[in-house]
Amino acid sequence: MLEKLSHILFSTRLLLPELVFAGVFLIIVTIVAFTKKSYHSHNLYNTLTISILITIGFVFYVFLSFLEQYFDSGVVLFHNLIYLDKLSIFFKLIITVSAIAVILHLWIIGYKVVGEFYAIFLALILGLFVMSMTTHFLMLYVALEMVSICSYILVAINKSKSNSEAGIKYLLTGATSSAVMLYGISLLYGMTGTLNFGSQEFATFLGQNPSWVANVAAFMTIGGLLFKLSAAPFHSWTPDVYEATPTPIVAFLSIAPKVGVIIVMVRFLSGLSIDFRLILSIVIIGSLFIGNLSALWQNNTKRMLGYSTIAHAGFMLVGLLALSQFGVQSAIFYVTTYLFITLSAFLLVDLLALKTESYELESLKGLGQENIFLGLSAVVIMIALVGFPPTVGFTGKLLIFTALWDSYQDSGNQLLLIILIISLLNTAISVFYYLRIPFYMIFKDPKGGARRYSLDIPKRVFLLIFIVLLVYLFIKPDLIMDMIEML
């Protein structure tokens, strides 16, 4: 008993950052509950949230280099519920960075949100933290639901009709995916007798089942994850939710949960002792084609980005399909850089909407002529989304495709070659819709003649940081790659 207690105390100590986080969540809830509802206090909330995030991020960064000194690979906490290793700390770091960027985005563009937003936002991040450090289905499910429920609320927080509609759609599809996932988990538990998918016995027992039966269970289990990743066939909520929700929230939802999902996928797939490639390939093909082909017709930039994330979910899974260490590393690299690309894309869309007050493509006509900096930024960001040099988007895609090619060479599995070809084809398709944004901005003439449109300094600097990052990481990918290789 005493031993258990000391294990719990030991575990608690290692999770101190998360506990502090929970504390801040409570503080914000208290403030919100006992003060007048005011839209003027967002400066206070912004400052508070950003400072806690920066602190936590710094702690993680330091922790990343310290962990190795105390524990060889990872450490099991709370009796298998939590598994903390460098990978999870790295992902928590990424999540923190994206959260900081999102709050800055919110602040700089001047969104005024209610105090509850911050509390829920923090709770969501806490859920993601937990998600990135578990190999246990129970904990995974709890974390996933925490993230999901917070996301539903964030989507509906503006209380307008379209928000509520999007929230309901999100909730219904999400709940269904959750149900599918739970069903899958129960099947897996039945097959293996354990909920810890990182353990050796899970792999052993699962391998004793016919692979097609195990595949059914495994596919259903990752259903909930694919939903968060907005991969086919769990993608249908994406465009509607993206269109209706405030941009910074969409930006966050399109990156942070995916980061969390990717690490779970990495862990789940590496522990899977069956050939899961067929199903994964179908998911990839579906995501790529549905995302890219639908995006071609969109005239609303946010909807278009929604479809684009579906396609990108496919690309992220491509790295995992390679099932090699290099493949996993390149998938992690892809996710990390995709974070910057997506955040900058949404920032750009928002900056444009500040002028046009609309997310329609038509309204962008000639904006690049009115503000050259915005025009050039649009070119860089969209090129990064396509994956052309000289942006980091190219590096990410190159790594993923190289990993897949290597894997094909090693195994001779035709399926991998097919996926590679389809991925390349889809990259080509995506050129058409991504470049429409800069095309409209630069080559079409503005409707009522060009008027100069200038941004204030913080907006310009914020966007410039992203642009520089996108190009700089292309020149020096080692900056991130070294970190990933260390994990």
Binding site: I168, K169, L172, T173, T176, S177, V180, P210, S211, W212, N215, V216, F219, M220, G223, A232, P233, F234, S236, W237, P239, D240, L278, I279, I282, V283, G286, F289, I290, N292, L293, S294, A295, L296, W297, Q298, I429, K476, D478
Partner: protein
């Protein structure tokens, strides 16, 4: 960070400030920023020089690891040795003077800030070119200077002709760059590295006349031909005079066009291993030197004359390299940088005084009107003509002496070229500054000496044109050849592969004789020029009245027209064919077909996404079912296969 890293960084910062802040930074600030950046680089160079002389070992600085592909490691790194430090002095020193001059010359131009930014960008690229410790960094600089040259030639791009001149320079250079690039690839292929130190170390193990080395050096030389305007890739340089005069002085006389020579001297061990290539280089040099000089005789545009003289002088430098006299070629690079920059800047001052007029038929009698310009121009003219004791005499004489040793016919041709140089330069001088004024009344009224910011660089360069030759005294003077002694370490490789390298067997009597002959030839040429053009007696006739051989030469032997007929027109008609026939009937149809197919598919997927939640869930479940179905179907297929016995 080492001070050496800062040398190219200053102009880059200057470029960023002036470039990004163009139209926002007041003109009174843009100039000092540009000049300041250049001057700081110069100071950095001085400090680097002191560091270098402390040890006399090359200083290698790795700025960052750049590309690692397999075993090939390409670093972004700098190498400061005797060769690059001299180039640095020339680039930053002459560069600073020309930046200063531009403050006066370009001050009223509306693109003043942009001009300063481009000049700084050029300086940055040029510094990369000479400071890089491997061929890749050199190539970045090489392309960078090409870009800047394009931007600056077409600086007044509202004039289509100027824009075309810029494009011509750019395209001609691309041809050369392709050669250079192939050369680099061959180096990577054969040596597995691009670092000078490693490549040259490995090259020591090769024998003279190795065929791969001949290929490498040949391709590298094609690069040099393009950049340093040698036959057949020289026609862009005279056209490049469309750019503002400081650009002509800095880029198209003093620095960029000499980068081909720098590159060859840098790779001297490779060239020493390939005597066949060297012979080729020498003959190209001779041909260019003489050919360009003949054209120079009949030109009537003050800048065109200088341009052809530049091409011709570059020919002399290659001639020097071709006969293994690397130091002499480099010596001429240095002195030429002084007197040709001086001549161009003085010509700019003349044009400035003449309110933009460049035709020497409209000038004359300017001596008393713009005295400083006239005197400095005269010093430059004497220097380039090779009259003792000015800078040009020493460097040109040294080249001629080596050529004489190598091949007597080549020497005769070179001597004739040198006489022509003296002749057309003095023709230019006499027509411009002596006699009576032939321009319009209005121009005469406006004649004035340029501001101090323009005349001071002229005076400084005049001093250097006068004394610059003393760093390389001929042996018979019993004075040390400072340059040769200083440069000695960079030829270690060449000496290692060819023991005869650097031997200097010319007898003293021969050397005296050669000096006498070339001095005499120059003086005779000057005298002929004086009798014909002194006091502007014979003003050249108007374009329409030129006839006979003179007309052919005046029109540059119609080389441009020939190139146009051989290369441009066929390509044009081919591309017309593709545009009018192949493209619409062939590719377009295929592309449209594919596009239509994708479009109709995507229309379908879009329609599915109509917004009904019930349908979404239905689609999701259908999707899951399909995937599970495929999974099952695959399993059934496998079972059947196993049952039938197909593996």
């Amino acid at each position: 960070m080492s001070i050496i890293t800062l040398i190219p960084l200053f102009p880059l910062i200057g470029f960023l400030i002036n470039g990004l802040g163009f139209r926002k930074i007041p003109t009174s600030l843009a100039g000092p920023i540009g000049v300041g950046a250049s001057l700081l680089s110069f100071i950095g160079t001085v400090i680097a020089y002191t560091q270098l002389t402390e040890t006399n070992q090359p200083i290698l600085i790795n700025v960052f690891d750049w590309i690692t592909v397999g075993s090939l490691q390409i670093n972004f790194s700098f190498q400061i040795d005797q060769l690059s430090i001299i180039m640095l002095f020339v680039i930053t020193g002459v560069g600073t003077l020309i930046h200063m001059y531009s403050m006066g010359y370009m001050h009223d131009d509306e693109g003043y800030g942009k001009f300063m930014a481009f000049l700084n960008l050029f300086l940055f690229s040029m510094l990369l070119l000479v400071m890089g410790s491997n061929y890749i960094v050199m190539f970045i600089g090489w392309e960078g200077v090409g870009l800047c040259s394009y931007l600056l030639i077409g600086f007044w791009n509202k004039n289509t002709e100027y824009g075309n001149a810029a494009r011509k320079a750019f395209i001609m250079n691309r041809i050369g760059d392709l050669g250079f690039l192939i050369g680099i690839f061959l180096i990577i292929l054969n040596f597995g590295s691009v670092e000078y130190t490693e490549v040259f170390e490995k090259a020591k193990g090769l024998t003279v006349g190795d065929s791969t080395i001949i290929a490498i050096t040949g391709f590298l030389f094609i690069g040099a031909m393009g950049k340093s305007a040698q036959i057949p890739l020289y026609t862009w340089l005279p056209d490049a005079m469309a750019g503002p005069t400081p650009v002509s002085a800095l880029i198209h006389a003093a620095t960029m066009v000499t980068s081909g020579i720098y590159m060859i001297i840098r790779s001297n061990i490779l060239y020493t291993l390939a005597p066949e290539t060297l012979e080729f280089v020498a003959w190209i040099g001779v041909a260019t030197a003489v050919f360009a000089a003949t054209i120079g005789i009949f030109q009537n545009d003050i800048k065109k004359v200088l341009a052809y003289s530049t091409v011709s002088q570059l020919g002399y430098m290659f001639m020097g390299l071709g006969v293994s006299a690397y130091t002499s070629g480099f010596f001429h690079v240095i002195t030429h940088a002084f007197f040709k920059a001086l001549l161009f800047l003085a010509a700019g001052s003349v044009i400035h005084a003449m309110s933009g007029e460049q035709d020497i038929r409209r000038m004359g009698g300017l001596w008393s009107k713009i005295k400083i310009t006239a005197i400095t121009f005269l010093i430059g003219t004497i220097a380039i003509s090779g009259v003792f004791p000015l800078a040009g005499f020493f460097s040109k004489d040294e080249i001629l002496a080596h050529v004489y040793e190598h091949n007597k016919l080549m020497w005769v041709l070179a001597l004739i070229g040198s006489m022509m140089t003296a002749f057309y330069m003095f023709r230019l001088f006499f027509l411009t500054f002596t006699g009576s004024f032939r321009g319009t009344h209005e121009q005469e009224h406006h004649l004035h000496e340029s501001p101090a910011s323009m005349t001071i660089p002229l005076m400084v360069l005049a001093v250097f044109s006068f004394v610059g030759g003393f760093i390389g005294m001929p042996e018979v003077f019993h004075a040390p050849h400072l340059l040769a002694d200083f440069l000695n370490p960079i030829y270690e490789g060449s000496k290692a592969v060819n023991p005869e390298f650097g031997a200097h067997p010319v007898e003293h009597s021969t050397e005296w004789m050669l000096m006498g002959i070339s001095l005499g030839a120059a003086l005779i040429a000057i005298f002929i020029a004086y009798t014909r053009f002194g006091g502007s007696k014979n003003v050249p006739v108007e374009d329409s009245e030129i006839t006979g051989v003179q007309k052919v030469i005046y029109n540059k032997y119609y080389i441009d027209e020939v190139y146009w007929a051989i290369f441009v027109n066929p390509v044009k008609s081919l591309s017309n064919f593709f545009v009018n026939v192949f493209e619409p009937k062939g590719f377009d149809a295929i592309v449209r077909g594919v596009g239509n197919m994708v479009n109709s598919f995507s229309n379908l997927t879009r329609r599915l996404q109509a917004g009904g939640t019930g349908f979404y869930l239905f689609a999701m479940v259908i999707g899951i079912t399909i995937i599970l179905g495929i999974n099952l179907g695959y399993q059934v297929l496998e079972t059947i296969k196993a049952f039938v016995g197909i593996k």
